[in-house]
Symmetry: D3
Subunit: 237 residues, 6 copies
């Protein structure tokens, strides 16, 4: 039923390439099938003004798409003079999810900025971003420990994310663009490796969904994300 | 346990005042306890460029807070030169939810713009906005039918929304500011009067939440929203 | 001759509701007939950079209109990315007028920000804003004295404002929208309760006006504003 | 009493140089003492969207100051990314005043844009701008008649403007910077050569002013502006 | 003498990967040593307004750097709300250079937009961009011919670019970051495969350079660029 | 062959008027034929943040054109909300060139800002700006020495600039607008009075140019700039 021939709960092949670019403290390329995102983690001393003097760190994120990462060219946001609402929404989601993975006290007064830049889009860019960003974050934390900027590991648990949805009346996992553009419902789920939820964002694009459908989607998400944890761990080992 | 003495699932007193201001085709004041939002619906001929010539209408929304609707004064977004990420996220949510309530074909090539302006904030401004906006929308659709701009009623079903969360380890409904600022988890649920889901947005602010906690919150949301449907209907009759 | 049947010098019924919203140090709703403006006064420690260390305070103002406070919807300025020229002009006028009412030295290094937000417009929004803002300012100054932030009352005198104009060849006071949109000349006058002038802004919209017409308008303004001082005092007592 | 030794009602020497730059349809340099403003008038076919198809023309104005036209350097508005409130206020004033001098119907569907750029500031830039702009406008209208773009002269009457104020307790005319920065009250008056008023904008900078003081200032303005009409006519003959 | 051990005129290893991303009509990754740039070419019907109806096409370019393509993180231009002066300067250079390679008449009323996005920077990003962009452009033109959007090949000649400079008193070619940051002079040269010049931009960063030094740099540029033409051709064959 | 009858290498009459406006530490009007630019130099204590504490000064520049300095009116950049790419490119060029003329250490922690504002344009505005800015800079440095802000003269050498190009197949110097708009190639050259190069920016607008043509243009530039040094010196003596 799915264009790719995947089973309902089957996620796309996922690859994670570490040290993808040279300068960042963490830099990975994550591929969810044809969706490709560069995630870099930058470590900087100091915190935003509202946190100063509290002995806590900060984790933030920015998201962008290359203008021609998509089927037709999108306007470059820098040229347009502002980030659109969708971009803002996604980068706020990524940042919140990552902060939930980190003990900000253990980070000291340091800031980690994660940049997620989509170089090729085929659905699921925000879930790929979160899943990849967590690996870049781990590399940055390792860097900080190696440099003795921090003494303990601030990572509370890995996080990963997958999209689920209702497509042609059936719940499916990890929607690619063709599925996403026709899905009745689209839901993004972020989970910890301890099996708990960080974010659930479900939207009825075409048709309201029932509580039962929601539960089914949540189960698919759980299985998909558990697979992602294995892939993250393999990449990090 | 709750500062207000409410039971876990109890929502605040809700009042809806129709014809709150004079010029808009729909104009209501909605109060969720101390949270007060003016929702106006504006009917205009024509649709945005991307929809032209398709014989379909459009529903969109904008959200704002008066600078001193909050405990401390927020910067006026117009003076700052842009709408913040939170504002963008909320107005996109309101607009998506309302579009899910309307048959855009039956609307013809007309646009309804809902403005939700918070004049006093005490938690739950986005759910109050959605619940109130739906009533303003109904008034605007009635206006359109009275003026014979449309022939059939484009409303598919009423929608309403409530926030739920985990507060001091317990699931509760309709968080006021004091609860919201300390909640471990915060979730906004938008539902149709037919018992289906339009949007679910859950965020672990402090602590990841379990699948069971999520289910409990969903049940509280369902009951709270059903009460809101009664209040909407009373206001409209 | 006037659409409302008012006499030439008769102002509209004016009501002032104090403590209109909960959080601000001063918060009033002022109604000049169908024109309704929320004026809040916010007290904050510190002054803008150009005043630092001079032992003086500051009073400033911002003005906005809800998008559908008017007959047809105006673009939301926050969405447009800037405040328009008319908004700037009005908020500069409000701020100047209020500063003329206050002994800035007696205020200490504190800032009072007045927000005037029009929720329904029917002509005279700037004069209603000034008249209401002065009451909100008094409430904020009372708050400061109660909290012992200041020791003496910085208020030099109450101020109030009314519009006057030439309509169908006759000078009239307190123009409502129907009159304003057809007036040959429009003038806004701000006065102190001691009978002196703070601001006079007269504009020939259609026809130049004579020195005699100006004098007649000034007399109408004087009488109208004196009535407003009575209403302000009644509200404050 | 005045730093320059001028009498109370005496305006500064005023010179108007026509054809100051080469490309504009009207281009003059106006000097009010040490205040120097370049005013150019540009004729373009067509009108702004809100006027299309009404058979009427439009006159608009923009105002700017070279960054170092003032004692200390001001930030270049183009670099700052927006025009400040003072700039907006002034250019709206100039444009309104000029429109009051022109029969827009006789202009046909054409737009005249007046640019007033201050190259040296010493008080009174807005009144110098208006007085000079009117001459540039006349040159542009003459150009239009010579090119047979219009058939009749749309000019209803010349306009000119002067500032008046209360300085050290005395009403004076045409304030230079030293006076302006210490004046208790500052008023700008725009008049027609037929002795009627176009704009009156009086502001109590330090001290409220009485109705009598206002009248005295108005008389000084009248005399000063009448002198300006002579200077304009001499320049145009 | 050079950090990499290269001879004075030796350029870095250059690789060009075609079809680097999936959606664009031309998409390449170009590497000048450690400098890596994605260049995509997008073909769209129509031309900018100023060209409409002239039967000519348009070629334009945009340039960006991922925030962490550099040693320390740069602010994301989209978040800052505008493109900086350096970005503007570079993208104007790229666009001008490419337009010089194309017969715009033969392109018909179509627009090709080249996006050059630096994912890793080590000096020479603008020359790598131009050299890569020309290959992406060729792929886009081939696509247009295959789709019969155009009938003849609008390419007049290949172009390529290299930087040259004075480093420790010696002229060198293709500066990497370490050299660039210490160079006395930096010059970018764009040439056609027919041996003619498109752009020469030389800047004395530290020390003015002599006419003789300029000639020496020009010779190095010529040799370096000729090597680049071989690499472009190999990539395209 | 040239519209003005000039010989190929002949530059236009150049005049430099010092003390053109009153407030700036250096203020000149420079005329290259019909091109007229006001250059002011402003001296301010302190340096931009990135230079603080290094004991060095800074020289920067901004460029603007009055809207009607050109044949048709250009949009005012302040009204448009940003400086265009061309403006950015030019002001960066002017600033770099001037910094190359100054020993920033000898300047102390002071900043000189040069504003170049074109009041009439006829080609060559950037080279006129640089040539004039250098004179304004000298006046500002003299002011600083007279005020004992600096002890030694930070000027390393005078700089001046001229445009050269290929017009109707021939190399010419100092292009006026008519020539510039038809030139095949346009090159701006900045030189020191010691005969060395600061900037060379050559662009093939229509036709690529040969190495020989480049050399011929460079020779014309050298002669033209040497004339400019004489004119600068005459103005300064």
């Amino acid at each position: 039923m799915r264009p790719s021939g995947r089973t309902l709960g089957q996620i796309r092949p996922v690859t994670i390439t570490r040290q993808f670019t040279a300068h960042a403290e963490g830099s990975i390329l994550i591929e969810f099938g044809e969706t490709k995102v560069i995630c870099t983690a930058t470590v900087e001393e100091g915190v935003p003004r509202f946190l100063k003097g509290q002995g806590k760190g900060w984790v933030t994120a920015e998201y962008g798409m290359l203008p021609r990462s998509t089927h037709t060219r999108m306007r470059r946001e820098a040229a347009g003079g502002k980030q659109g609402g969708r971009t803002m929404e996604i980068q706020r989601l990524i940042a919140r999810a990552l902060r939930a993975a980190v003990d900000l006290k253990a980070l000291g007064e340091n800031t980690i900025t994660i940049d997620c830049d989509v170089i090729q889009a085929d659905g699921g860019t925000r879930t790929a971003s979160i899943t990849g960003a967590c690996v870049a974050l781990v590399d940055a934390l390792n860097y900080m420990r190696a440099k003795e900027i921090i003494k303990t590991n601030p990572l509370k648990h890995m996080i990963a994310a997958v999209s689920v949805g209702i497509y042609k009346g059936q719940p499916i996992a990890d929607l690619e663009y063709l599925e996403d553009s026709e899905a009745e419902t689209d839901m993004n789920v972020v989970m910890t490796e301890t099996g708990k939820l960080i974010e659930v964002q479900g939207t009825a694009e075409e048709e309201p969904f029932s509580f039962d459908e929601m539960n089914e989607m949540m189960q698919l998400a759980k299985h998909g994300i558990n697979e992602l944890f294995d892939i993250q761990k393999a990449a990090l080992s």
